[in-house]
C-alpha cells in the first residue's frame, strides 16, 4: 500500500466499500446488463468519468462489437452514439494494455464537451483478451494514475462478469444438446425394444407352429396366427410412425389439402377405435352442420386415431368424449378422457419428438412420436394443437383447424417442393 497516492480517510473508506461491492456483484450476479449498470454506478463513486462503453470480440467474426454503453455524467445525450470510444477500446484490445487518448474536437464544440479524455482498458479473461472497456471524461482533467488503477480493477471485474455470462450461455447450450442426446438415446433404446417386442412374438409363435415334434389343434393354431397378425400390424404401425416422423422433420411429408367434411372423418375414426376397443365408453358430440374445411382428411384421421388410441392406452376403461365445436372462423375438436390426467410439468414437452411421460408402467407401449406427428400435421393445416389436463381429472387434447384457405406453413410449403 506504500506506493499508493495519499488519499483522504473518507475517500479510502468509500473506495473500499465500492471495490468490495463490485467484487460481490461479479460473484453473485447472473444478469449481465444489471450487473454492468451496478458496477459502473459504483465505479463512478470512486473515480470521475462521464461515459463508459464496452466492446466485445464476436467469437465467430473475430470483430470487435459494441456491447454496452452508458452515459453517467456529462454528454448523456450521446448515449446512443456507441462509436465515440471505439478507437481507444480497439487499441487496448489489440495491445492488451491500458491506453490513454486525448481528443480536441475543435473550437466548434462548445464548453467542456470540446476536450475529451479516453481511458481504454483491455478485458482480460484467463489470459485471453476478449474485448475493450473505455471510460470517457469530457472537459478534463485527465485521468490520474490512481483512477487508472481503479479503472483497471473495474475492467478486470467486468471481464469476469462477461466470462460468467459466456460460460453460463455455453453451459445452457451444452445442457440443451445433452438433453437432446439423452432423449435420442432413450428413443433408440425404446425403439429397439418396441421393434423387438412384436418381432419376438412373431418369431416365437411362428417357430412354435413350425415345430415338427409337436402338433396343435385348430383353435390353438388360429390363436397363434391371430397373435402373429396383430404383432405384424403393430410393427407396420411403428415403422409408419418412424417414417412419418422423419419426413416431418425434414419437411418431406406431403399434405394434400382438399375440401372435406370433418364430421365424417371424426365418425370414421370413432368406428376404427371401437373396432379395436369395443368396450370403450365413447360419446360423440359432433354436429352435422360443421363448415367444410380444407384438409388432408387422411392425415387428420391419423391425428384422431392417435388421440383416441392414447385415450384407450393411457385411460383404459374411462369414458371418452369427442366433441367438435364450430367457432366461426375455425373448428375445434376435443378428445376428452376421464383417466389419471397428465401432470402439469410434462405438458409443455408432450408434443416434442421422442418425449414420453415416465409412468413406470412399461406395459403401456409408446415411442414418443405420436403427439409430435399430430402437432406437425395440425400445424401444416395452419391450426394448433394443445392439451388441458389436471392430474386425477382426466385429459383433454384439442386441435383447432381454420375455416377457409389455411395459412401455408413451412412444412406444407416445403412438402410442395419435394417428391
Amino acid at each position: 500500500m506504500s506506493d499508493t497516492a495519499p488519499v483522504a480517510p473518507l475517500q479510502h473508506g468509500t473506495e473500499l466499500n465500492a471495490v468490495y461491492a463490485i467484487a460481490r456483484i461479479v460473484a453473485e450476479t447472473y444478469d449481465t446488463e444489471a450487473g454492468l449498470d451496478a458496477i459502473f454506478r459504483l465505479a463512478r463513486t470512486i473515480f470521475i468519468f462521464d461515459v463508459a462503453a464496452l466492446y466485445i470480440q464476436n467469437e465467430d467474426t473475430r470483430e470487435l462489437e459494441p456491447a454496452y454503453a452508458r452515459a453517467l455524467g456529462r454528454g448523456r445525450s450521446q448515449e446512443a452514439d456507441l462509436a465515440w470510444g471505439e478507437p481507444a477500446a480497439a487499441e487496448a484490445f489489440r495491445s492488451g494494455e491500458t491506453i490513454l487518448r486525448k481528443e480536441d474536437r475543435g473550437p466548434g464544440v462548445p464548453g467542456r464537451e470540446r476536450r475529451r479524455d479516453y481511458l481504454g482498458l483491455p478485458l482480460m479473461v484467463g489470459g485471453r483478451c476478449v474485448g475493450g472497456l473505455v471510460f470517457g471524461r469530457f472537459g478534463g482533467p485527465p485521468f490520474p494514475p490512481e483512477h487508472i488503477r481503479l479503472a483497471e480493477f473495474v475492467a478486470w471485474h467486468v471481464g469476469q462478469l462477461l466470462e460468467t455470462r459466456r460460460l453460463s450461455t455455453r453451459i445452457a447450450t451444452l445442457e440443451a444438446q445433452r438433453e437432446l442426446a439423452r432423449m435420442q438415446d432413450e428413443f433408440i433404446a425404446t425403439i429397439s425394444h418396441e421393434l423387438r417386442t412384436p418381432l419376438g412374438f412373431i418369431k416365437g409363435y411362428v417357430t412354435t407352429l413350425l415345430r415338427e415334434d409337436a402338433t396343435w389343434d385348430g383353435s390353438t393354431r388360429a390363436e397363434f396366427l391371430h397373435i402373429i397378425d396383430e404383432e405384424a400390424e403393430r410393427l407396420r404401425e411403428l415403422i409408419d410412425n418412424l417414417l412419418d416422423s422423419s419426413r416431418l422433420e425434414t419437411g418431406a411429408l406431403r399434405m394434400t389439402l382438399e375440401p372435406a367434411r370433418i364430421t365424417g372423418t371424426i365418425r370414421d375414426a370413432a368406428a376404427r377405435v371401437l373396432s379395436v376397443a369395443p368396450e370403450m365408453p365413447l360419446t360423440l358430440e359432433v354436429p352435422d352442420t360443421l363448415p367444410t374445411l380444407l384438409i388432408d382428411a387422411a392425415r387428420i384421421a391419423q391425428v384422431l386415431d392417435n388421440l383416441l388410441g392414447n385415450a384407450h392406452k393411457y385411460a383404459p376403461g374411462s369414458p371418452v368424449t369427442v366433441r367438435a365445436i364450430d367457432q366461426g372462423d375455425s373448428v375445434r375438436v376435443e378428445v376428452r378422457d376421464s383417466g389419471p390426467g397428465i401432470p402439469a410439468e410434462h405438458q409443455p414437452q408432450l408434443f416434442q419428438r421422442f418425449y414420453r411421460v415416465q409412468t413406470g408402467n412399461r406395459t403401456v407401449r409408446g415411442t414418443g412420436l405420436g403427439l409430435y406427428i399430430c402437432r406437425k400435421i395440425v400445424e401444416a393445416h395452419g391450426g394448433e394443437i394443445g392439451i388441458e389436463s389436471q392430474a386425477g381429472q382426466g385429459t383433454s387434447f384439442y386441435f383447432v383447424l381454420p375455416v377457409g384457405p389455411p395459412i401455408p406453413t413451412e412444412a406444407s410449403q416445403r412438402s410442395d417442393n419435394h417428391e
Partner: protein, 235 residues
C-alpha cells in the same frame, strides 16, 4: 428323470408367458408363472421350481434384482431372458447369478434346447456326486456327497453352475483344461464357443472362493491355454 420338472416362467407380457407355457407343456414340464420380480421370488420360495426363466424388463422389480434376491436363498438354475442383445446386459445377468441367458427374439427350439441343457447340467451334478469323496484344496473343502463347499469351515453359497465348474476343475487336479473343454463339460457341447459365459462364471466363483481373487490359488489361469486347479505344494 421320472418326476415332472417344474419350470417357473416370469414375464410381464402375457403373450410371452403363453408362448413359453405352450412350448414347455409339450415337453411335459409343469409350468408355473409370475408377472413380475416380486411374484417370482414368492413363487420360488413357495414352490421350489427346478428351473426359472426370468425376463429382465419388468415392472415392480426387474429380472436382475429378482435374480440376485433369489440367489440369496436358492441355487435353482436360472435362465435370464433379455430383450437387449447387448453384451453388458448378458454379463449383468450372469453377474446377478444367472446360469444362462437367452436373447429375445428367440425360436421355440432355442428356448427348449436351453431349458434342456440347463436342467441336464443340474441333474448330472446331483447324480454324479453321490459316491464321491470329500476333496480339500488349501483351506477349501468340497464335500461332493453333500454338494457343500466350505472355506475354513465357513459354508460358501455357490450356484449350480459355479459348483459344477469348481468340481470339474477339482476332478482334474493339476491338469489344464481349455475353455472349450470346460464349456462342454459344465454347460454342454452347444456352449463350446461361449467363452463370455465361462469368464463371468469364473470371475464370480473366484470372488467367492479365493482369499485374494486377483491372485488366485484355487483356480489359476494359464494364459492362452486354459485353467487349472494346481496341486498343493508340500510346504
Amino acid at each position: 428323470m421320472s418326476e415332472v420338472k417344474t419350470v417357473l416362467v416370469v414375464d410381464d407380457e402375457p403373450r410371452y408367458l403363453r408362448l413359453m407355457e405352450v412350448n414347455l407343456n409339450t415337453e411335459s414340464y409343469r409350468v408355473i408363472t409370475a408377472a413380475d420380480g416380486q411374484q417370482a421370488i414368492d413363487r420360488t420360495a413357495a414352490e421350489k421350481p427346478d428351473l426359472i426363466l426370468l425376463d429382465v424388463m419388468m415392472p415392480v422389480m426387474d429380472g436382475f434384482t429378482a435374480c440376485e434376491r433369489i440367489r440369496e436363498f436358492s441355487a435353482v438354475p436360472i435362465i435370464i431372458i433379455t430383450a437387449k442383445g447387448e453384451e453388458r446386459d448378458r454379463v449383468r445377468g450372469l453377474d446377478a447369478g444367472a446360469d444362462d441367458y437367452i436373447v429375445k427374439p428367440f425360436s421355440a427350439q432355442e428356448l427348449l434346447a436351453r431349458v434342456r441343457a440347463v436342467l441336464r447340467r443340474a441333474e448330472r451334478q446331483q447324480a454324479s456326486d453321490f459316491h464321491q469323496p470329500v476333496l480339500t484344496h488349501h483351506e477349501l473343502t468340497i464335500d461332493l456327497p453333500r454338494a457343500l463347499v466350505t472355506s475354513t469351515g465357513r459354508e460358501i453359497a455357490l450356484t449350480a453352475t459355479e459348483y459344477r465348474l469348481l468340481q470339474t476343475l477339482a476332478a482334474s487336479l493339476g491338469q489344464v483344461m481349455t475353455a472349450e473343454e470346460l464349456l462342454t463339460t459344465v454347460w454342454g457341447p452347444e456352449y463350446k464357443d461361449d467363452k463370455e459365459i465361462l469368464w463371468v462364471c469364473l470371475s464370480r466363483l473366484r470372488q467367492k472362493i479365493e482369499p485374494d481373487p486377483k491372485n488366485p490359488i484355487h483356480i489359476v489361469t494359464r494364459q492362452g491355454i486354459g485353467y487349472l486347479m494346481p496341486p498343493e505344494k508340500p510346504s
